[in-house]
Every structure is written in structure tokens, then in C-alpha cells.
Symmetry: D2
Subunit: 337 residues, 4 copies
């Protein structure tokens, strides 16, 4: 940590500050000419930047060390491979998976139909919402427990492991048979939920919040890992910017940046990124070429009757085409990263 | 709701669409030349825009009606006045209140000292965090139940009603003696929490999320109101932008905009907006002049030893100065809005 | 254009408004229940939204028609193919080109060396800055006229057409031998420059501004086209968001969105998007897969001695690798869009 | 400047780097444990961060020193007072001024009427656009030379000095009788224009770009100052964010932040910030309370017939009310900053 002192700081103030820092077991290095620069050496992850900034003679503070450890590639150079479900479907470390299914589980017929269709096209994990975060209290909120039951039925029918979003730690008992627990974008910094989900010791897929930096995403992964689950998958699903032509702005650069910063697998959700079915394919091709570890795509047997997010859902034939093209691009790009 | 059809839409498609809409009990109005424009008249709050967009011949959809009702000034023209605690401290409808206290409750001595100091300076509600949302799992997370106990002690000692943040619906029983329940910015769209807090039927202060629009803030208020509590206070605390000179960017315009859209009281949190103690005063003056219904300010007896957010905490004498100046500006500005 | 009137608008006000609109030769369509919705039919591109909003009884105004015409695919369905230089290098409509070269032209030796290297790797257009927009007045601003002379020398030596940025209309005479005129991101809305460059009737490459929407980019292209040059190439080079891990955030979705909205070619600048040399390759692969019409990449023979933007420049061998991989991805993806 | 080296950097690499830095006349300070931290002491404003980042063993670079000098309060502690026009109207250093007038000059009658009205209400500088930056090439672009002539006429008639926007350095001769030259938000980083306007040695009002940081605004002021004009006024006029309820988001915190960083006067443009006439008053009150040095407000005698930006223009009586209230708030707040 680098602490920049104000130009008029006296020697007495500097000495007092240095003594205080040494007392907390940091090594201290002084430099600078116009302004004194204090280098703080030691484990500064437990230090609150705000407390340092509150000291009178401090002008600014810059963190040098990354504030995350378990998720940090510096301390864990090998790629993490997450295994999902009884079938031990692998993601990360060169293993690529297609996750597909409807925005919400609506009925037995719907989820079984879609599950069989996406499996036939090569999807290896089934997605489907039982608890839906909706901006409006008057919108369809999901089938809840019944939705989870239908997902389990679809798993039995197709053998696909299932991923679905949890919105409240109180629902954890209902998620016993869910293979991959999803933390939605709006809950990325619901720290109590992160801690309790981490204690489930199941694989977790965490979506980046609409206004969260990649470092904050890693800090949230760190919460889950520190609570017990080492198997975290990061999901880029678009961030909020001034551009309104797309629902969100897919931050495709997140893939190479995260590959450097962390050993955890990274997937992309093109459906929520753009919000428009006809743009899901081009975004999927780009994601495949850049070397993402998986894609999570919305597929609905009848998008225009979907109870939510119909605009961004692919029909099964359209998904089949996307899956085929993605496989080809991935085969071509493998070895280029 | 206005639905814009693609230029090449056939008459048969238009007729099919119109029949479908009429079947859902909407009145339909057609217009346009190059492209057909379909006006949908009726209660469209329950309609999912995505489902309409998923229809082949649809180019775009625009909502005309506000998707919130209970929070909407159109249907409730009088200002809501929220009464807090046994003392029935009033906020809104011309009643202005100062909410002050430390970021976290740290000890009995600290909270009592600060509570007495802020009361002496004119604060009428005491704030203090017991459960703290922290980006890092390694940072101080609050005293939890013990923190709540100390807040209640401070209330007994000073008579000030208390406001503190809830992070998990499972903690609701612990909040029985809290007078004003706070929903933090990171939980603004934690819809399960909103619903359960609404059912407590207590006054709720909800903070705007870092990347949430004012309309989304009103939708979250709508969740709480639809669940049972009509007493919601909205809090602007800075949004996330590209500017990094301040911690967040205070959206001061939110005050006049919200005053038009809703009847609910609006408060500003200058401390979290800027993140720097010496800018809290100028922001408080601006907020007072623009006619906000309250201010929520961090005060700590020893900011440089605060366990979190010391950088933005005022000392009690600095708060006393802010409170004095705010009162003068408010007296001068009253009648100008 | 849709005009939403306030709930309490009187019939007299509505009649007056309708008369005024009809007087401007618009057809008018009224609908709505709680609030009157006025549909304005005719060429509204010349109408100022602000003037309509200023009318007392108006609550809101929404544009339905796109405000651009010449750049609009609705009125020009065929892809535009831009031909550059004496060699008539084609871009758009299925023609892909690699544009490469140093950030700034620094010396004869440098530009000739880099030009030969990028040509050998398959680049077909040479880039190089002679006038450099620098945030600091104390930074290197380019060789100006001398830089243009060196670029022309490199063109003579290699046969590559050249692209370079113009910053002031007063410099137009110096750009007589430049094959493709570049408008930089910071000048995307320097409308006087757009008009004068359009009058040169040369191909123009216009970069999206850091905070400009795709619609604004199309409006700026419209300026150039309306001034005389139909040959405009659009360049996505990253937008400004809250994320700071990359210099800017590459908006990869701009490619499919622009392909729908316009017939003009679209290129991506991965170097300025991320600002880090080692991320240029993955971003280039993604861009190739999504079907962009060209890439513009910074290449320097000695990045760590570059006079500007060294951090994002590739060495010639690194560029050779990128060019190879991009060709393979493009061959694989062709036919998928 | 702080340079952070990668963990695996060898001693030979460090020695080579240090030698190179010393050769450029910097003092060098080494520290750190897991990673070497290199402190670079000397005038780093001329160093390009990109060039340092391009060095193989460098992980990250952080600037400590501000990259601006002439605009920096550290080197010029006294407030700058800018004097405008023959009347030497003072702004800054405790002097507050109201700048008002129409968005565009439309006719002699219009500009004279508005000028007299705003003067009667206490405005001391007249604004009015002759060259208008419009997003659409089909929108009204201003009266150009004729507009300047009418502004001069209004100055003669009322004695008010005039401010108007310049969009092209080629127009400089036309601006000889303009008292305060305005650089618009879209041209904030049109560096060629900044340099040429600086050479006019007249007072300059520069507006912050929609996506520019305060530091970039100061760098643009530095361009003007380095070119010859010390009299620069900074204008905050709203930044672009995800919020669409207002045209832009007024960054009111810019006022206390800039007051710390620079000695230059700061004004606020509430009209462009919000884009809605009825919100101009509350924003003006906030600006007055926070201690801004001036306000620039759009006033039109007939907003609903304005040729541009009618939605945000005040009528003369509405401006009179704003001016009165602003004076009262300012009188109350003076001494609080």
C-alpha cells in the first residue's frame, strides 16, 4: 500500500504515522521529494483504506496488493476445473460446456421439451428459473418449489445436471438436489447470501452485477470460497452503460482479463447481455473465439408466449444452429489463446 | 404501450396481432405510414415487454404508462409523511430530519458518546451499522446482534429512534426494536428481502443501488408497499459513473425528479456519495437548498480509528457546524420549491 | 413521433396543439384513455424534440422514426463497399481488411520498417498518426506535416494505402494524398470538421466517441454523407464505463447492432479498446468471429521506446501471429452471420 | 510515479530498468517484498505511462503527481479572478455572476428582448449561440456571422458583455468582439481548437465533456493556459450516465472537488444538465448553496417556438424568480464554504 502525504506534512507527523504503522507490524519505506510517499509492506488486505485516508496529513492512498487471495492466480497458478452433478460435467481448464434452458420453468411439458431439445443440440447442463428476480412486484415471479421439482424431473428424464438461481438463504433446503447454484447479478453483493451458499459446499455460478468491476466480482467469489466452496464459476452477463441499443453492454474483454487475474472458469451469458434473440448467435461466436469456458443461453419452445424474457430466448432450432457454429469456432480457435 | 411494427409487416400479421391483443382485453389503436404503430390501451403493468418484442413482426416497444402505482404521485397527490419511533418523528411533507451516527456500532462507549453528541447538534434519528456489507470477506462485518443491543441502549439513553441496515430476512426477529429499517444500496433489488421487510409493516429507508435508475428505485419501493408497508423513504447516495475523484457521483437532480414522480419522502446521504469527510458539508448545503426531506450523515468520535469508512466520517464538532449551516440554508430556501 | 399529454390536459389545449401540428403538415392520430397520446405522422427528422417538450401540456415525447436517412439500412438495403486508394482496396460487403501501423509516425526508418513488416503479415492498409490528440499539452503531439510526408514515402515504398487522423479542417490541404481520412473519437461530434471532411469526397473512417451511442455515431456519419462523401467506415474502439481493468470497454455488440441499422462497413480497434498489448489478440479473435469488416491494430517495432501508447502496441512478430489467427477464424466463421 | 514489477522479475531486469530511469534523470527508490515497487522521483509529467507499461517486467504503473501545473492550486494557491469585457465583470475569488440568454440567437428582436429582460433580473453576462453543435445535420445550426453581429448589437444596447461558442479555429476572426469565448462540451478535447483559442488571450469558458473526468477537464484548461490565456472558467454541465430521467446527470460534487484542485473559477449550467425547464430552479439553488462562482442559464422569450432546446429554456419571469432566489441563498451561504 502506498500512502501519499500532503506537501506541508511536518517531520513530527511523519514520525508519528510511521510509528503507528510499525506498531501494526508493517515494514515502512519512505521516499519522495515534493511530497512524502510512504510504502507499507505486509498483509494489507485487512487494512481499511478509509481509515488511512481519514488521517489529517494523508492526501491519497493506493492499494498495490490485490485484495483477494483464494481466487488469485498469483497464489494458485493452475486452472480450476469445476465438476458439476453426478455426471461430473467438467468446466474450466480446457473443458467447455453449453448451459441452456428457459428463463423460467413454466410447466412440466415445457421444461421436459426444452431439456430434451437442448440436450440433442449438445447442451450438457440445463438452466431454468424457479425463483425469478423481477423489477416489478406485479410480474411473474417463478413457480418456486414447484419449479425446482420440475427441474429435478427434467434432470431424471435427460440426465442433465441443473443450474438455477437462489434468491434467499432461507430457501437453501429446497436446493439440495440442484447441481450448480446460481447467484444472480442483483445479488452479487448480497454478502450474507454468498456466505451461506458457500457453506453448502456445492459448485456456484456467480453473475457479475450490472455495475460491478471485475475486482468486485473476484471479491464476491472470494466470499464464497472463504465460506467453504472452492468451485466457483464466474459469469459475465453485460454491464450497465449509457448505450441503450442493447439491454446491457457485454464486456467481452472480461474474459482475457479474468484469465490473467484468476484460475476460476469464466462463462458468458449472451442472452441477458443483449436482450435480443437475433444477436445471441453473433455474441456466442465472439465468446467462443475468445476462449470462454462456457455459454449460458436462454432457449424456449415458444418465445412469444414465454412468461418472461421472451425477447431474448432462442427457439430450439435456432439454438441448434448456435451450438453447431460455436463448436466449429471453438475447434478452430483452440490453441490460439 | 406503443408497439412499432417492422416496415414489411403484412396485413394478415397485423390482424393476428390485433386479435391477440384484444383477446387480452386491451383496446387497440393503429396509426403510422411507413411503419404501423400499434397503441395498446389498458393496464399494461402486467405485460412483459420481452414477450411483445419476441413477436416476429415487432421492431420496438415503448412503455407509456409508469409501471408503479402505489408509489406514483399521479394516483396519490398528497406528500406521504412517515412517522418514526415512539416519538413519532415526522419526515416528508415539509418535515425535515437529520439522521446521524457512526458507520458501524463499535462499543457501548462509542455509540452512546456519538448519540449524545449528534442529538446535541440537532439530529433526531440515530444511525449505526450492526450488519455491515463489506466488499472483502476479510473486513470487519459489524457486531451483529450485539450491535443492535447497543443501538437500543443508545435509544434508551437519548430518546432518539434508531435506523440500521438489514441484510438478510432471517435476521428480521432481531430488528423488532429498530424504528426504521434500512435496505442498503447493494440489496435494493434483493426482491425477497424487500417483500419480507414490507411485511414487517415498519417504516423503511431504501437506498438507491449504485447502477439503478430512479424508476427502478420506485419499483423497489413498490415491492415494499405492495407487501404491506406504506411508509417508505427513498435515499439517494450516489451512483457509479466513470468519475473517480469522488467515491460515487451524487445525483442531486434525483430530488426534483422524485418529487414529481412520487409522494414519498426523499433523503440524501452525502457521506457515501463522496466518501471524503471534507466534502460532506458542501454537499449537505446543496441538498438542503434543493429541498430534500432529510440528510443521513456519518459521524464518528474518532474517525481515524473507525473500523470502517473513517475517511467519510465527520467529527462531532464538524457535524455540529454542518447541522447549523443546513438549518440556515433550509430556513432561507423554504418556500422556494 | 409520439407525444404524451399530461393527464389534466383540456380539450381546448388538445385542439390547439393538433391545429399547430397539422399546420406543419403532419398527420395527427389521437388515442389513449387516462392520458392522451398524440401520434405525429410525417417527416419528423426536422422537428426539435425540445420544442415539443416545452409545450405546457406535454408530459413526454418519444421518437419512432430513426433520425438518420443516408446511413439507414431501411432506405439502402445493400452493403456499402468502400474502395480505398489507387489500389482500390475494398472494405465491407464481405471484404475484410487488416489496417496496421504505429500509433505515431516517429521517423523514416520506423515507419518504413513497420510498413514492410505489417504488409508481409497481410495488412492491406497502413495506419500512423501525424497529428496526435494528447490529453496533456506537454506530451508528444506528432510530427505533423513531416509525419504525413513520411507516410506518403511508406506508401510509395510498399504500395499500401494510408489512413491517418485529421484534427483541424485547416489542415485539409495537407491531407491531399491520404487515402482514408480518420476522424478520431474525441472529434466524433466536431460537426464543423465532419462537414468539411465530407466535402473532400474521400473515404472517411470515423471512430465512435467514448460516450457516444451507436445512434449518435450514425448521426455523425450522416453529417459526412450529407456533405458529399458516401464512403464512411464506422469504427468501434471502446466506450467509457466504470470498469478500469481495461482502458475502455470494447462494445462488441456494436457489430451486430450496426449491421442491422446501417449498410456502412464496421471495423474494430482492439488496441485502443483495451490499452494492453497482450489482450489485443483475444479481442481480435472475437471481432473476427462476430463478422467485423476490418481490424485496426497498433504495431511498433520497439514498443517500449514508442513516443506514445507503447503499452498497447504489438511487435511485428506478435502482429503476424494475430493476423494468421484472425484469418483462420474468419475463414471458419464466414457464412455463419 | 510508482512502478510495480511482476513477482518473477529478476535482479538483472531490475538493475537494467533502474539504470534506464536514472539515465532519464529520475531518482529511484526500491521497496516491496513479494513484488518490487519502484518509486520514480522527478518531473514525470513528460513521461508516457504507456511506454512504461510496455516494459516486460512491469505489472502496473500509478501516477502520484498531478499531470497539470498551471491550473493546479498546489502551485498557485490564490483564487483566479477572471475579468470579462470592457465593464471588467469579475468572476471567481468571491465574485458570483449570472450568465443568461437564449440557446440560439434567432433575430434582432429576440436577442434584444431577452438581453434586456435578463439584465433587469440581474444577469451580468449575455449568452447566445451563433454556431450551434447539433447532433443532426438536418437541425438548425445557428445564424453564424449574423448571429455574432446581433449579439454585438445586444451588447451595445444593454452594456452586457457576451459569451458564445466557437466550433472551429477558422472562425476566430469573427470572434474579435466576443468578450468570453466558449468551448463546448463536444469540443473539450478538440486540442487544436484549445491551442488556437488560448492564443487569442481572451477569457475562455470551457465546458466539461459528457464523459470526461475532472482531471481531463483540468488538462484541457492547461492546454488553453499553456497557449497564452490564464483566464479560464470551468463549467460543469452534466455528465452522461445510465440515468435517463434527466438529459445528463449534474455532478454537483465537481464544485468542492475543483475548488481543492484548482484556483480557476467554476460555473454550473443547470439548463443543459437536466434538459427540463422546471428543474432549472432547484438545481440553481443547490449550485448557489454549494458555492459556485456563476450560473449559466437558458432564457427564451417564447420557449415553445425556440429553434432549439426549448424544453430547457426559462421564460423571463421564471428566470427573474430563479435569480432572486439564487441571490438569497448565496447571501445566506456565503461564509459557509
Amino acid at each position: 500500500m502506498i500512502v501519499i502525504l500532503k506537501p506541508q506534512t511536518t517531520e513530527a507527523q511523519i514520525n508519528q504515522l510511521v510509528a503507528w504503522m510499525k506498531n501494526m507490524n508493517f515494514e515502512v519505506n519512505l521516499s519522495g521529494k515534493l511530497q512524502t510517499i510512504v510504502g507499507l509492506i505486509g498483509d494489507t488486505t485487512r487494512l481499511d483504506i478509509g481509515t488511512i485516508k481519514a488521517i489529517d496529513c494523508v492526501e491519497d492512498v493506493r492499494r498495490i496488493q490485490d485484495p483477494y487471495k483464494k481466487a488469485n492466480r498469483k497464489f494458485h497458478t493452475e486452472d480450476t476445473v469445476v465438476e458439476i452433478g453426478a455426471a461430473r460435467v467438467k468446466i474450466g481448464g480446457g473443458n467447455f460446456q453449453l448451459i441452456a434452458g428457459p428463463c423460467s420453468v413454466e410447466s412440466e411439458e415445457q421444461i421436459i421439451t426444452v431439456a430434451k431439445a437442448v440436450k440433442a443440440s449438445g447442451a450438457t447442463i440445463l438452466r431454468g428459473g424457479a425463483f425469478k428476480p423481477r423489477t416489478s412486484p406485479y410480474a411473474f415471479q417463478g413457480l418456486h418449489g414447484e419449479g425446482l421439482r420440475l427441474l429435478e424431473l427434467a434432470k431424471k428424464e435427460t440426465g442433465l445436471p441443473i443450474v438455477t438461481e437462489i434468491m434467499d438463504a432461507a430457501h437453501i433446503p429446497l436446493f439440495a438436489n440442484v447441481d450448480l447454484i446460481q447467484i444472480g447479478a442483483r445479488n452479487m453483493q448480497n454478502f450474507e447470501l454468498l456466505k451461506e451458499v458457500g457453506e453448502m459446499r456445492k459448485p456456484v455460478l456467480i453473475k457479475r452485477g450490472l455495475a460491478n468491476t471485475l475486482q468486485e466480482l473476484l471479491m464476491s467469489a472470494e466470499y464464497i470460497m472463504a465460506s467453504g466452496s472452492p468451485d466457483v464459476i464466474l459469469c459475465e452477463r453485460g454491464i450497465r452503460t449509457f448505450e441503450s441499443a442493447t439491454r446491457n453492454t457485454l464486456d467481452i474483454s472480461a474474459v482475457p482479463v479474468l484469465r490473467e487475474l484468476t484460475h476460476l472458469p469464466v462463462v458468458i451469458d449472451p442472452s441477458h447481455s443483449c436482450g435480443v434473440a437475433r444477436w445471441v448467435k453473433p455474441l456466442s461466436l465472439a465468446a467462443a473465439a475468445i476462449g470462454v469456458d462456457g455459454l449460458i443461453i436462454e432457449v424456449h419452445n415458444n418465445p412469444k408466449c414465454a412468461l418472461c424474457d421472451g425477447a431474448q430466448s432462442l427457439t430450439p432450432p435456432a439454438f441448434d444452429d448456435v451450438a453447431n457454429c460455436v463448436r466449429q469456432i471453438r475447434a478452430c480457435a483452440a490453441g490460439m489463446w
